[in-house]
Symmetry: C3
Subunit: 289 residues, 3 copies
Amino acid sequence: VAGRAGGSVFVLTDYGLADEFAGVVRASVLRHAPGAPIVDLTHGVPPFDVRAGALTLLRAVPHLGPGVVLAVVDPGVGTARRALAVSIAAAQGDGPCHLVGPDNGLLPWAADVLGGMRQVVAIPPSPPRSASLPRVRGATFDGRDVFAPAAARLWQGAGVDELGEDVDPADLVRLEAPRVVVSPGHLETEVLWVDRFGNVQLAAGPDDAVAADLGPDLDVAAAHAEGATRRAQRVDAFAALGPGALGLMVDANGRLALVCDRRSAATVLGMRPGHTVTLRAVDRDRRSS
Amino acid sequence: VAGRAGGSVFVLTDYGLADEFAGVVRASVLRHAPGAPIVDLTHGVPPFDVRAGALTLLRAVPHLGPGVVLAVVDPGVGTARRALAVSIAAAQGDGPCHLVGPDNGLLPWAADVLGGMRQVVAIPPSPPRSASLPRVRGATFDGRDVFAPAAARLWQGAGVDELGEDVDPADLVRLEAPRVVVSPGHLETEVLWVDRFGNVQLAAGPDDAVAADLGPDLDVAAAHAEGATRRAQRVDAFAALGPGALGLMVDANGRLALVCDRRSAATVLGMRPGHTVTLRAVDRDRRSS
Amino acid sequence: VAGRAGGSVFVLTDYGLADEFAGVVRASVLRHAPGAPIVDLTHGVPPFDVRAGALTLLRAVPHLGPGVVLAVVDPGVGTARRALAVSIAAAQGDGPCHLVGPDNGLLPWAADVLGGMRQVVAIPPSPPRSASLPRVRGATFDGRDVFAPAAARLWQGAGVDELGEDVDPADLVRLEAPRVVVSPGHLETEVLWVDRFGNVQLAAGPDDAVAADLGPDLDVAAAHAEGATRRAQRVDAFAALGPGALGLMVDANGRLALVCDRRSAATVLGMRPGHTVTLRAVDRDRRSS
């Protein structure tokens, strides 16, 4: 039944917007599921960067309504890596119920935060487009030919069991968990994301800051530039910072972030995703001197 | 009643498209107003540039159909700046009836061109997402949590009076008006916008050119590079210009623009938004010599 | 009858996404055809690059569902170049039935691949917006004022004959066909496209490779850098290539492409659209030695 599952089809890829890739995937969804509302989450994941894509999905999915998530960051396209359709365990009523994408670590974090996987299937490859080319098969465009049609069928009300053979959820490829090391007065953690405004999101959350007893003033050092240390202060809003000052705040995803007011903290600190950052509580005697 | 107000939700932000911000705002609108058609005006306003955002809205709104404008360029997020919902005075039947966005000058010019403000309310902040973090509240994402839900309610037929307390329209933050100074044979004006094609839109309009009696040939000088002057001619179409020639035409927004044919006038002139430009009529004797 | 023709309105332009152009065109379509699903193919065609736009359309249209294609790459806007509405000859039932765009070569290749043109009309210019400006007409924004309304009317069920006067399809502007020269052991061809991932799409197809008897190993040379030659191997998937190795594969559009695994072949080769490439079969004796 068309639209039985309903909601939207939420699309995330590393296709960019300069080529027609994203447009053709949207068209493929609509061709197979006329009337489906398509919501682009982003097509700006850096090319081939599965970890960045998985983190973007993880940030986005708690804020989506019902529907199907279609995610394609897929450097292994054309190999034996599996194409997956995932149904979510806890029918929470107001979030996505299904995820579709490659088995390379892109989906599990998002599925976890939505309530865990109930069922996972491997979608078979699309049939070769032409048997007339003896030695060279055409390259695959699985976003268009495999993932979009699968998302369309789920949006129309199909169950994942109609799309392929069961896979053990425990058997999926998973990415290494982001690094957070807490010790008294000291927090070592990974840069997960630098956003458009230059805010530097860390893997650590506010509970980690409490556990480390960091206090209101900190020294920030990047592992890749040991010598340089910058002072930062805990703040609740960007505007609480003076010009050029560095702040540590809880961002809108509930993670710690290094920020400046109307300026790129990432540029100030020279930080990129994957870097390791150390936050150290400033000694009270030193601080007051 | 769902869809009573109807039309589309037109979205303008400085979020860019590389992150998931714009996607999450779209999803938030749909979560609160299933079925709402969402039209991205642009998410490419330069970060924090309220003036550029206000000018972009001003250019766009005369060409929109019915619906709600959701605009977020908001460097003051997390401060006491107000969140606004505006209803438009003159129900013209075929343009947007409501605007939603921060009280920082982003909305008033667009409201003026649509017919003026009938009623303005301040939308209260969204409730804090967690009371468990003693000293650090989470940063706000008002596009997702305040503005998108408000736009969704207006699209569904709510009045602005259902969203918050009345604010005096005369009390809103307004940006400084673009500079236009007319004298005989002389027009001094501000660069408002450089578009993708390098066309340099000026604050002055064709009436200003008539008032200044500029005539068909002009000298163009940028205030930031006093020495350099370029000759330009009044034209009706890009293709009327020879290779490398500079033209002054009335653009599709009804403003004067400095243009080249298939080439960036902004690059030729070294001009950016905010620059001041002087147009001088070429003396007839000098011109014919 | 609204929605009689139905399907989607597929939009391709060179407007970019930083300005409001694309948003205003979307709004214009909806204003004239409320409820029309709008699918952005891309707005990232390089400015004024009609050939790139025509090639992008050509790649996209075989994968679209029913509807209307609205394409605007239009350096001749404001001149006497015609605005066209095209109906497709072979009603295949599941592809676009109409194309709208300027008469500059943008549309014919896409029309050919969809089944050929049945009827073509020239859409008259939109009426001047203001008669009050004696010497300067406003520049036209035909995407907003001519092409979008025409696409909306076709989506609503109008025939092309309702939009303008007949034009002989044989009379349309056509771009020069991409260059492919086949000889034994030798294939000379044009670079059509470099995608986001750096894959270099060639005009030649797998049949040309068979006709040239290229075999599994080749030397690749760019005409613009005669000295440099790189070895490439025929592969079926990106992952079949070792780090840094260059491959020749049939891409998802059925053309030959020079590729690397998770790396830009265009950067490795220094190639851009419009370049000429020579592929030479590697002599078997040399190869085995």
